[in-house]
């Protein structure tokens, strides 16, 4: 496989959130997880678009779970990070880490 296009920041955040939720990842908790950790608000529309795009790129896979009553009998779409997604995350992390090399004091300041 050749060089992947680099992940956008929000794409990374979404992939990491899905990874963190370990099999319990559907849009609602993913959004909450991101908001909790990054303390930034996430619009639902942007999240859905990103989830679909990551799936199109082959970084995520999804499946429908059984409908539940509190959702008016509608199914949940669960997401899981595929190996390609993991690889893309690693690549991003490596790129960032190498860019930070020697600049660690800045990361800690203020």
């Amino acid at each position: 496989m050749g060089v992947r296009p680099p992940l956008g920041e929000f794409e990374q955040v979404v992939l990491l959130a899905v990874l963190r939720l370990e099999g319990a990842a559907y849009a609602v908790p993913v959004r909450r997880e991101i908001e909790k950790r990054t303390r930034r608000s996430v619009t639902r529309g942007a999240l859905y678009v990103t989830l679909e795009r990551l799936e199109d790129k082959g970084y995520l896979e999804s499946w429908l779970a059984d409908p539940t009553p509190e959702r008016g009998g509608r199914a949940k779409r669960f997401y899981r990070v595929r190996p390609a997604g993991l690889a893309a995350l690693r690549q991003s992390w490596a790129a960032l880490r190498s860019m930070w090399e020697g600049l660690e004091p800045f990361a800690r300041k203020t």
Binding site: Y26, V28, R44, G45, Y48, D56, K76
Partner: protein, 887 residues
């Protein structure tokens, strides 16, 4: 607990297609959490907001855009081109957010107002009633010798139900019933119906059975009843073993044989318990007084289900034939002819015209709103002339240009429609919350599929009307002219100005029509509230009761009960006086009987009719009805054994004994049995059911001479009437602890309620007229501001040549006022033609009321003046030097 609002969910599902399910599921899940945490209102608003945002983000075009970064390649099909046009349109609109926001908001207001009103019109005039095949349901009316609508006597009903067009007919009377044998006696609403009733409505009880014709509805049958679902839940505690239980109704035991399914609601009288017709008290008393066979007593209001394929006209014709033959055979029968009218028409009644007027009003508002948007688009077109010319120069075909301009229109109108549905949704809620009464028949107006389809159709229609013309016109720019250095000459500007002027004139004209309509209704309302009902309505507490006929079978017993009640109530502290009336004015009760005056005889089959009311000795003084001649009643003097006497109203006196003193004259009242009585007094006229009714003849008889099981207690209190309610009710129970009383209310509230719907319609129309005026003012303001901007150079030249600020102001104002005056000149005759249609809604005001017409014309000119003044004043601030350097 109700579910989430349906409309935003449907929006999402439609916009997102198959992907909608999980997204909607997520939002519903969050909505549920939010509702628990912050309440339903916040949660619903949140859901609406999210629906719009997520749809905007994820809607179909968005999704494609992501997958297809090269939207307009040669091989793309129609859909692709359309998509790119729409995207282009959205982008262009996004570039001028102020224009877009104003246009979308204006459209949303117009479409929203229409959606809200149409929801009500749809429920009342379009949608079938909530009964199976309800289009076949009719009400049967008799017609008397004066061609007035009357009920049927039982023999005439038996004839009518047998005509070939009718599949099944039922008698129906809604009347309150005393339910006793419980802790407190209560009143329930009874529906007395023939055994065929359940075949008529085509709804069977969910538990048990309905009535069986020939078994349950005959004299001497076991007494049975069917209860409504809600009554089963409430009165019987939802007991699943309800069948076979008994209810004591009007002092007799009825066995419950059925419970209607939840959601079944008969659209008349909110019935709680269904009882076979022969148990209806007047039917019974008729039996004892000579049988139901009485041909002279029209008491039955029949309803019928027509046979499939039979028309209402057929039924009316058959009814007329049968009843004419019947009247020939029995001249004393009052039914000379008859007709079948759709049940819906009976239900909606007088509300039809006001509803249609409101529909017309909101349609006008929408037209004005669209004219504003078209005007804005024309103004924009001017600034885009060069852009369009450039496109043409680069080889864009005309069709392509039209399509792009149209796609802008489409995006604008679609957004307006979407937001309009939201406005309509909240508008309908506001209407429902502020309406003085429920819709007839307990119907509930909803923003359903039909309404959405209507909004879409309205959107498409106005978009074509107001979007297509400018698009066609401006797709053919004069390329050379527009691209010339400076491009200032603005090709087509003369035509555009004329077109915009015409739009403003039509807005003004439409606003005039609406304002005059609203003005006339407000003047009528004002005139109406000045009308005195003929009695002193404030400070009166009223309540009703009906004695069980089997407990108080004789007249003297009945009167004894009434007398004791009145006596005990009068003894209460805080009570100034108390009286008894069979029919309280504005309560909907009251009987109208035929009468005959020996001094002025009428042919027996063409007797006049009068209101007839049994009252006691304290009625005229308590109600404040002035005694004009002779004497009032005296309970000690006018007793069952004394000669029969009556008091007549002024109108009755004028009709029957013009120019004479009626006191001492004789009158014969065709009650059952007929009574001949001497007139002992004359009192002032009162209104019986509406402030706008003309004075009607009325005859009062003393209750001791003609007691009845039904009575209304009227109490004049010292302070707030309602504060005495419990004490007065207690006084009734001190006479008979099993006697329920109901409809505890003030006389004043009754009079007010009678004008409630008129007030509501008038105010609503006033709101729409104000909206129309505001939109029209914005329209003329926009045109004038634009005109000033266009004419900066000209104004600069004029001022450089010595024109004063005043001259410039005058010049610009004159332009604005000229348009407004033209609008008024078109609008006044249009209003004159249209307001005649609402004549029946007016009171004390002519449809061509000159004051209203003049006031509206002046108002419009004044508003137009103010709206033009601001831009005109700005014109005077033009710096001649800067203006000449312009471009």
């Amino acid at each position: 607990m109700s579910g989430p609002p349906r409309l935003p969910i449907r929006l999402l599902e439609t916009a997102l297609g198959a992907r909608g399910e999980t997204v909607v599921g997520d939002l519903v899940e969050e909505w549920t959490d939010l509702r628990t945490a912050r309440g339903a209102r916040t949660a619903d608003t949140w859901l609406w907001l999210q629906a719009v945002r997520v749809t905007a983000r994820l809607g179909p075009s968005r999704l494609r855009a992501r997958r297809d970064p090269w939207p307009h390649r040669q091989e793309d099909g129609m859909i692709e081109v359309l998509r790119s046009d729409v995207r282009y349109g959205a982008r262009m609109l996004g570039r001028s957010p102020a224009f877009t926001a104003v246009a979308v908001l204006t459209l949303a207001l117009g479409i929203g107002a229409n959606t809200a009103i149409f929801s009500i019109v749809n429920t009342l005039l379009v949608k079938p009633l909530p009964l199976p095949e309800s289009e076949r349901l009719v009400m049967l009316w008799g017609r008397n010798a004066q061609n007035r609508e009357i009920y049927f006597s039982y023999p005439a009903f038996e004839l009518a139900r047998a005509i070939p067009s009718i599949e099944v007919a039922t008698a129906f009377v809604g009347q309150s019933v005393n339910l006793t044998g419980r802790e407190e006696p209560i009143r329930v609403r009874g529906g007395f119906v023939s055994g065929d009733f359940f075949r008529f409505v085509r709804v069977e009880p969910a538990i048990g059975r309905g009535f069986i014709p020939g078994q349950d509805d005959v004299e001497g049958a076991e007494r049975v009843c069917v209860v409504q679902h809600e009554a089963w839940q409430g009165l019987l505690g939802g007991d699943p073993a309800v069948l076979g239980k008994t209810l004591v109704l009007n002092n007799e035991s009825f066995t419950v044989v059925g419970v209607m399914p939840p959601g079944f609601r008969f659209p008349f009288d909110e019935i709680e318990v269904w009882i076979p017709f022969h148990n209806w008290p007047p039917y019974r008393s008729n039996l004892s007084a000579g049988g139901v066979a009485s041909r002279t007593n029209p008491l039955v209001g029949p309803m019928a289900r027509l046979r499939p394929g039979a028309t209402r006209e057929q039924a009316s014709a058959e009814l007329a034939t049968v009843l004419a033959a019947y009247a020939g055979q029995f001249p004393e029968a009052p039914e000379k002819s008859g007709e079948a009218r759709p049940l819906r028409e009976v239900l909606v009644g007088d509300a039809r015209l006001p509803l249609l007027v409101l529909m017309a009003a909101v349609a006008l508002v929408l037209l004005i709103a669209c004219a504003n948007v078209a005007n804005l688009m024309l103004a924009r077109a001017a600034t885009r002339q060069r852009e369009l010319a450039t496109r043409v120069a680069l080889g864009a075909g005309r069709a392509r240009l039209v399509r792009q301009l149209l796609s802008e229109t489409a995006v604008l109108w679609t957004a307006g429609c979407a937001l309009g549905l939201v406005v309509g949704h909240w508008g309908l809620r506001a209407l429902t919350a502020t309406a003085p009464q429920e819709l007839p028949g307990g119907l509930v107006a909803r923003l359903d599929g039909t309404v959405v389809a209507y909004a879409l159709a309205l959107t498409a229609l106005t978009a074509i009307l107001f979007g297509l013309v400018p698009a066609l016109r401006f797709s053919r720019p004069d390329v050379v002219e527009a691209l010339k250095e400076g491009g200032r000459s603005d090709a087509g500007s003369a035509l555009r100005t004329r077109l915009r002027g015409a739009l403003v004139v039509s807005q003004m004209a439409l606003a005039v029509v609406l304002l005059i309509g609203a003005g006339l209704l407000l003047r009528s309302l004002d005139a109406l509230t000045r009308v005195s009902p003929g009695f002193e309505a404030s400070g009166l507490l009223t309540m009703e009761y009906r004695l069980p006929a089997n407990k108080y079978p004789q007249g003297p017993q009945q009167w004894e009960f009434h007398r004791q009640v009145a006596e005990r109530v009068r003894a209460l502290p805080g009570v100034r006086s108390a009286t008894l009336m069979r029919a309280l004015p504005f309560s909907g009760n009251g009987s109208r009987l035929y009468y005959d005056v020996p001094d002025k005889p009428a042919p027996p089959d063409n007797l006049p009719r009068t209101w007839f009311n049994e009252v006691d000795g304290a009625t005229f003084s308590t109600m404040g009805i002035p005694l004009l001649r002779g004497r009032g009643f005296d309970d000690a003097r006018d007793t069952a054994d004394s000669p029969r006497v009556v008091v007549v109203s002024q109108r009755m006196a004028d009709l029957s004994w013009p120019g004479q003193d009626p006191v001492g004259k004789t009158i014969r009242i065709m009650a059952s049995p007929a009574v001949t009585a001497e007139v002992v007094g004359v009192v002032g006229d009162i209104k019986h059911s509406a402030l706008d009714e003309v004075a009607l003849p009325c005859v009062y008889a003393p209750q001791p001479q003609k007691p009845h099981i039904f009575n209304t207690l009227v109490v004049r209190t010292e302070g707030d009437p309602m504060s005495m309610a419990a004490a007065v009710r207690g006084a009734v129970w001190s006479v008979d602890r099993d006697q329920p009383v109901w409809k505890v209310r003030t006389q004043e509230s009754l009079v007010e309620t009678s004008t409630g719907f008129k007030r509501f319609v008038s105010r609503l129309l006033a709101v729409y007229a104000a909206l129309a005026l505001a939109l029209a003012a914005v329209g003329i303001y926009g045109l004038m501001a634009y005109s000033v901007a266009q004419r900066t150079r000209e104004i600069g030249v004029r001022m450089a040549l010595g024109a004063h600020a005043r001259d410039v102001l005058g010049l610009m104002l004159r332009d604005g006022l000229k348009l407004a005056a033209l609008g008024v000149m078109v609008g006044l005759p249009a209003a004159f033609a249209l307001t005649r249609l609402m004549r029946s809604m007016l009171f004390g005001t002519s449809p061509a009321d000159p004051a209203t017409f003049a006031a509206v014309a002046a108002l419009l000119l004044a508003v137009a003046g103010v709206a033009s003044y601001v831009p005109a004043w700005r014109a005077t601030r033009v710096d001649p030097l800067a203006a000449l350097r312009h471009d």
